[in-house]
Amino acid sequence: MNIDKYEIVIGLEVHAELKTNTKIFCNCTTKFGGEPNTHVCPVCLGLPGVLPVLNKKVVDFAIIAGLALDCEIAEYSKFDRKNYYYPDLPKNFQTSQYDLPICLNGYLDINVDGETKRIGITRIHMEEDAGKLVHGGETISSSDFSLVDYNRTGVPLLEIVSEPDMRSPLEARAYLEQLKAVLEYTEVSDCKMQEGSLRCDANISIMPKGSSVFGTRTEIKNLNSFRALQRALEYEILRQAEVVEEGGTVIQETRTWDDAKGITLPLRSKEEAHDYRYFPEPDLLPLVISRDWVERIKKTLPELPQARKERLIKEYGLPEYDAGIITGSKALADYFASCVNIYPEAKTISNWLMGDLTRLLNAGEKEITDSPITPEMLVEMLQLLDKGTISGKIAKTVFEEMFETGKRAEEIVKEKGLVQISDQASLEKMVDEVIGANPKSVEDYRAGKEKAIGFLVGQVMKLSKGKANPGLVNTMLREKMK
């Protein structure tokens, strides 16, 4: 099927849990985990008679995010009740913001294939998170029982709604990555997608290229990673195109992403959509945000990803590609900064971070903040490499060992006897052996075939189990074959 004839229209709704110490309407801790129903009080349990009191920190954080995303901060904003029944919602309504959100009309610049694109941000609003359900069976309706944990209930959330400005799954992914970076840089959210502190719903439709009328959209829920977002959108585009190609029409509905099967499934149709019966929250006063308040917060805004990227290029001469990847995550950029502080070879560091470290982190499903290798440890290893104590090849082995055990490079080198052999006497025997065993290559070399030397060096390296100093071996071989 040719999907090139369709224009793709994507908008994202992102929920970010805020990093405040306490919940949005009570003093309970927002700490992740904890025994079920231990981070709760009458207020967040919605017991009869309780009233919410707004945590001012939540407003601060919303203003920070709004400013970082170039939004207007509303002078007058209010909370509303979103009414629906679900057992993870203690009051059976969620206190949220409906028609007067705190932030409006912002944007975020993303970079795809070297091109910068501006994605509009419609609004940002504050709301409370719900609890967590654990079903006895597969779903709430097929289970004999479900258990509910209200620890997460009342953790503050920002909902960040984009304009339908993205035209490909790749752009959507880039937007989410860039948004995550902004929220991390401003320290508004942890953005841990596995823990659910950053969640994303996608609205997607297709229309014939050149059309100005959007097609019917579907909303996809349960997108818990960048990969899931991209795959789900790719799948959904094909599905919608197929429906259209077969002469059908796309139905407006909410769908859920099944990561294991790699497909989206219908969740509920437009007709089954809730009527949330929004109305102003009578237990909270409208929120009036003075311009002083906004100015005060503006002064505390940290460096944002785009600015940091430009700085890395200018200050350390990093290629734009490297700078983009390193600053894509605040933690990675901070890691880089710690390294470059004590070791001046910026590009070498960037190579290790983007290459081996990222590979090992991904394989171990770890965040950079949980890396067993600290910046100091990485730099120590690089210094061993510089001194010639270990070879580049050995360094990779040592690095993996460091990641696995958390031991320092020097310790591993000593334990495993990985020190590079750099004295001629020890290498002589091996060099002689290789020359003796490969008369054909020796002949080729002597006949002027430069390539043969590479093969011979490789043979010595193999014999030395990678410990031989390759430069020295090269010189010795040439000497002996003269």
């Binding site: 009458p42 349990l45 919605g46 017991l47 009869p48 008679g49 309780v50 009233l51 919410p52 009191v53 707004l54 009740r81 009414n83 029944y85 057992p87 203690p90 009051k91 059976n92 309504f93 709430i140 309706s141 479900s146 509910v148 009527d275 019966r277 929004y278 109305f279 009578p282 237990d283 909270l284 006063l285």
Partner: protein
Amino acid sequence: MDLYRLTIHELHEMLIKKEISSLELIKNVIDRIEETDPKIKAYVTVVKEQSLAKAQEADDLISRGENVGPLTGIPMALKDNMCTEGIPTTCSSQILKNFVPPYDATVTRRLSDEGAILLGKLNMDEFAMGSSTENSAFFHTRNPWNTDCVPGGSSGGVVAAVAADEAVFTLGSDTGGSIRQPASFCGVVGLKPTYGYVSRYGLIAFASSLDQIGPVTKDVTDCALVLNAIAGHDPKDSTSADVQVPDFTKYLTGDVEGMKIGIPKEYFAEGIQPEVKDAVMTAVQQFADLGAEVEEVSLPHTEYALPAYYIIAPAECSSNLARYDGVRYGHRTEESEDIVTMFKKTRYEGFGQEVKRRIMLGTYALSSGYYDAYYLKALKVRTLIKEDFDRAFEKYDVLISPASPSTAFKFGEKLNDPLAMYMSDTMTIPINLAGIPGISVPCGFAQGLPIGLQIMGKAFGEGNILKAAYAYEQVAGFYRQKPNLTGEE
């Protein structure tokens, strides 16, 4: 000695002079409850042991010569929608029949800090929805003046307990008249303070933007004393006003010379019982005799208050009562196959007719497509009503009207006619919509049933209301009359 007949200020004098002990007083009132409550049925719960223990503590304080406040050692009771830690708080509903709050409402805490002693919890219309207390899921409370009549509602138990001398004072809640209308039916003093004056934290919500807690007492002096204790900012209630609270007793001067009193003509329209109108007009004349300047005034949007109220209050209630679903506390149905039937059956079994009616009204009014026509329009009406009052209070210190268009009616008389029942709150509802304070004080009798005079003031104008009420009470003297419950004399 019949200590139960006395007021807070009388008992306080005796307590600090050590003429009586709190223990003696509590025992005396509990004896009274045991004697008369089987007939009146004001109490849902009585905490006898706890109150006796607390009385001992109060006596210790007094005997140590500590400087105690006027409520120390005084027995009181709370409407059963105010949370009391460790003591059932039911809202007179099946759905909360077994609910024991793990925390105290702010008013509960404040009264306890003042040394007042909780005797128990009082019957009400389920979730404060009703005007006769016939909507209690448990039993009917009877009017002490005529036990064939309702005590009014929703704070029926609250006023009956004071009228029957089963508590020295009580706290009620008032969303559309639930303190003032029953206070008028039972001949006691009942005040609905300015919205935001008394913390709602721990008051089980009916309609959040209208609910307000207030005192029910035997006289105006007691009303001022209780208001002193419960009014004031509470950081736990975002809608509670951060204002200075005066000592309200300083307004009890008896002097209303030059006070400007408005008589809103819309409150004397058709449908008002002639004896009620006469009693109120007699009271107005007495004010004039005391030197007040009395004038007729118009509050033109009054007739729209009732319909606006019956949109706004049910809308808020439909959301506030959504939490009673059987998941966390309260009643849960025995028969549920899945979550949806559990929600439905729990609520079907747990709520009474009137509560269901209002949840449906409110759900409808907030539904998409109806919101603008109903809820939004009702909010606009609310603003107009507020503006009516604002204009009136530019000119007048207080306004006077009946607290209810009639005296207490008989059981069953209006139970199957919701509209007739709703009409009994026409005098009180506009005050809630405007957020201003209003009091009901006894101003006469018709066929042996009390009549209530409503005095309204501007926001945080409780001082003027109490000043007028006190001056009137001293002249009229109706507060001294008591119902005869035991057949003596």
